[in-house]
Amino acid sequence: MKTIIIAMLALVGTSALAETIGPAGCGLGNLAFGGKDSQILASTTNGTSWSNVFGITSGTSNCEDADGMAKLDSFIESNKQALATDAARGDGETLASVAQILKCLNPGQMSQVIKENHTKIFSSDEAKSIGSNMRSVLAEEQVVCIRGA
């Protein structure tokens, strides 16, 4: 009987509960998507969750910054693959998000410029370089973005 219970527990443990495992997010020192764990959102928590709700408030989070630059970089970090694909197509939700972050007044034009300069912008796989390439391309092509300069 004991064996049965342990076997059952083992199965539940590996399945049913896994959904609930591990908050990972802003303010935990590790952008969840950057984890080298093969599990997508690495559950590399440091044992606190207070910072999940309140880390944002405390200003230590890199997700929500008043300044659009840092925000763009963390957006790119988490959405890199989808953004690169959308950018090549010249259309998609991640481009709309970039337009919103940078406050580009003509999102369609912004998307077109990013598409045309895809190779240049995505020459690196580091979010920071992608972000700065993007901003400089947009500036060069005179796309009007309130936070873009």
Binding site: G13, T20, G25, D37, A82, A96
Partner: protein, 650 residues
């Protein structure tokens, strides 16, 4: 197994919140605070008001009347988790005195005045006690929270079933707060909204501990906040889970109260029980705390399945707004693939299999983009993890695809026809009556109970059509007729603690296994166990072929069962190799048939007789009930039975 994460939020907003408060914040000598309010009769009634009880998360159960919130900081009175009046007195006392409480969590917030820690309670008390005047403290942290989470819309997000990852077979729910649009002309993108999530917080522990802790409530569950895009990437891109977004029609006051209430809940935790006080349940109670007109938590059973909680919320009168569907990356890929004609699909295959882009020239220039679009989505979903881990090989080829694609023009956006909404599906609990007859004189009548979720023959709308996901299913024989004489010896005939049975039709571009895992008990013969109840762990893998647009599925699986019973010779355990052949036919989403043939190899016994087989058909006139007929055979017992079933979904 996947150490899947959880759910959370964040967001940006501008606009100062409620500057008006400060003005009315003058205390007057005649005010409530100055009166001898502690002895006021008013508090007796007020503290039993259901809205107050909901703000404190009280719930009555068989044992006691107390709050489900388990963090001590959530109560000002030491009796507060049991005595709503004591907590009301302590709250008013705190408001009137303006005292700042030191909170246990000192990482970010050291001290909070009562009005700052409990803005939702405060607002409610002020609405009930007209002359409750006190000096409003300044609350910089709360103001910041409100500033960032001033929501124009609240959406309940259901992340659909993902049967290939057993941890997510029941789906999941979270809430999304959409920001107030800024004055700039740029339309806001939902990706940048916040998600609010409730999840257990667990460290890296071994599975047995997980299970135990989850069942007996040793993990703290907390509300967290994370940008919605994290959840979209996780669910849509990596888990192939579609997301359903249900707008909740809340008034501006309700939305404000909700944002404030979530802030309050950030100061506490709940002991997380996997089946009852889980992710979905506490989203319900959080919503109800802020929106008293909701009656959702009364409308779910004591175990809470995410899809049921969605139903309970959206069926509350006047609450459901717009529903949007966000297809997973995998679904988008399927749609892109459907746009390809024969030659184009061939070229697509060559691109993703042989990484040969030269054949693209054979395709009409105007169609190259859609071939590359399909290839990109394929690459993104197939190699999501490799790309995340910066696998140079996979990333390098994607770079080539991107380069080519960026030189081609934009294409028409995909037209997405959503499947049936998950709230328009059969309820997950099922009650059944059955009869099994060898003849009229030899018949068994019994009762079946299933807590959740879905099987092959249930109405398919709103559920994955190629998966069986069952949890806690009991089949209990009740009345037996033997040679025409009726008697009653109730016995457990079959029990599933958990069963996942997934058929993945093999496709040229998708070679996924089909598999079955069942943990439970049943009654079989052999090994000295003559119809004894034996523990059963059954694991099988194999392949499925789909025909007629997957309306017909043929499968073959092989594997082994571990069976355990004291009566099994000699050790009490047996390992039984087994294989299964079967088919499922879907005439419509409500009319389905299933057939299977199983063979087992018991060592020391003749294999010839060790087979079981079954054929069943079920028709469900509505989502609430269905009828089944069938046949089952057992070679060991040399037995044929006619089956009749009636099921109710509740």
């Amino acid at each position: 197994m996947k150490t899947a994460p959880s759910f959370f939020l964040s967001l940006v907003i501008f606009l100062c919140f409620e500057c008006a408060h400060a003005k009315e914040a003058t205390s007057t000598p005649e005010g409530f605070c100055k009166s001898s309010w502690q002895s006021s009769e008013q508090l007796n009634t007020l503290s039993q008001n259901p809205e107050w009880l909901r703000l404190l998360h009280f719930r009555r159960n068989q044992l006691r009347f107390s709050s489900e919130a388990d963090g001590p900081d959530f109560f000002i009175s030491s009796e507060g988790d049991r005595d709503p009046k004591a907590e009301m007195i302590a709250t008013i006392d705190g408001l009137c005195s303006g005292v700042k409480r030191k909170l246990q969590y000192q990482r970010h917030v050291k001290e909070q005045a009562v009005a700052c820690q409990f803005p939702a309670r405060t607002r409610w008390l002020k609405s009930k006690i007209s002359n409750l005047n006190f000096t409003e403290p300044s609350c910089p942290e709360l103001d910041d929270w409100r500033h960032r989470h001033k929501a124009e819309a609240v959406r309940l997000v259901f992340s659909s079933y993902y049967a290939n990852n057993p941890s997510s077979v029941f789906g999941h729910t979270l809430l999304r707060l959409d920001p107030v649009p800024t004055k700039s002309e740029v339309p806001s993108s939902p990706l940048l909204s916040s998600g609010i999530n409730f999840a257990a917080e667990v460290g890296p522990l071994n599975p047995v501990i997980y299970a135990l802790y989850g069942l007996i409530g040793l993990f703290p569950g907390r509300f967290t906040a994370i940008p919605y895009y994290y959840k979209v990437r996780e669910y849509s891109d990596f888990d192939s889970r579609d997301l359903w977004e249900y707008e909740l029609k809340l008034t501006p006051e309700e939305r404000r109260q909700f944002v404030d209430h979530i802030w309050e809940l950030g100061f506490t935790h709940y002991n997380y029980y996997y089946f009852t006080e889980n992710c979905s349940y506490h989203l319900l109670t959080a919503l109800e705390g802020a929106v008293p007109r909701l009656e959702a938590s009364q409308n779910v059973p004591w175990w809470v399945i995410p899809a049921d909680s969605v139903k309970a919320i959206v069926r509350s009168p006047g609450i459901l707004g717009e529903v949007t569907f966000r297809p997973s990356l995998h679904r988008q890929y399927e749609l892109r693939k459907e746009r390809l004609n024969g030659t184009e699909f061939e070229v697509f295959q060559i691109i993703v299999r042989q990484r040969d882009l030269s054949r693209l020239d054979q395709i009409d220039e105007s169609r190259r983009a859609i071939v590359l679009d399909a290839a990109l989505d394929y690459w993104d979903f197939k190699y999501a993890k490799n790309l995340l881990e910066k696998d140079e090989d996979k990333a390098g080829f994607k770079q080539q695809l991107l380069k080519l694609r960026s030189q081609l023009p934009r294409t028409e956006p995909l037209v997405i026809v959503p499947p049936v909404r998950p709230d328009l599906s059969h309820n997950s609990a099922r009650y059944g009556l059955y009869s099994e007859s060898q003849s009229l004189e030899n018949t068994t009548l019994g009762l079946e109970l299933r807590f959740a979720l879905h099987d092959w023959l249930d109405p398919q709308e709103g559920y994955p059509e190629t998966a069986k996901i069952e949890f806690f299913r009991f089949k209990i024989d009740g009345l037996q007729a033997k040679e025409g004489r009726w008697g009653s010896t109730p016995q457990l005939a079959d029990f599933s603690f958990f069963e996942v049975f997934l058929l993945s039709p093999l496709k040229a571009d998708n070679r996924q296994f089909s598999w079955r895992a069942k943990l439970g008990a049943d009654r079989r013969w052999g090994l000295g166990c003559e119809e004894c109840l034996a523990f059963q762990l059954d694991l099988k893998g194999g392949g499925t072929l789909g025909f007629m647009n997957d309306r017909a599925l043929l499968f073959a699986l092989a594997g082994a069962q571990v069976r355990g019973s004291q009566e099994i010779d000699p050790s009490g355990f047996a390992l039984v190799p087994t294989w299964t052949l079967g088919a499922r036919f879907m005439m419509s989403t409500r009319w389905l048939a299933w057939t299977e043939y199983n063979r087992e190899y018991l060592f020391g016994y003749s294999a010839d007789d060790n087979w079981t087989a079954k054929a069943e058909m079920r028709y469900s006139p509505t989502l609430d009930y269905g009828f089944g007929v069938g046949w089952s055979g057992d070679g060991w017992k040399d037995e044929n039975k006619a089956l009749l079933q009636f099921y109710l979904y509740r």
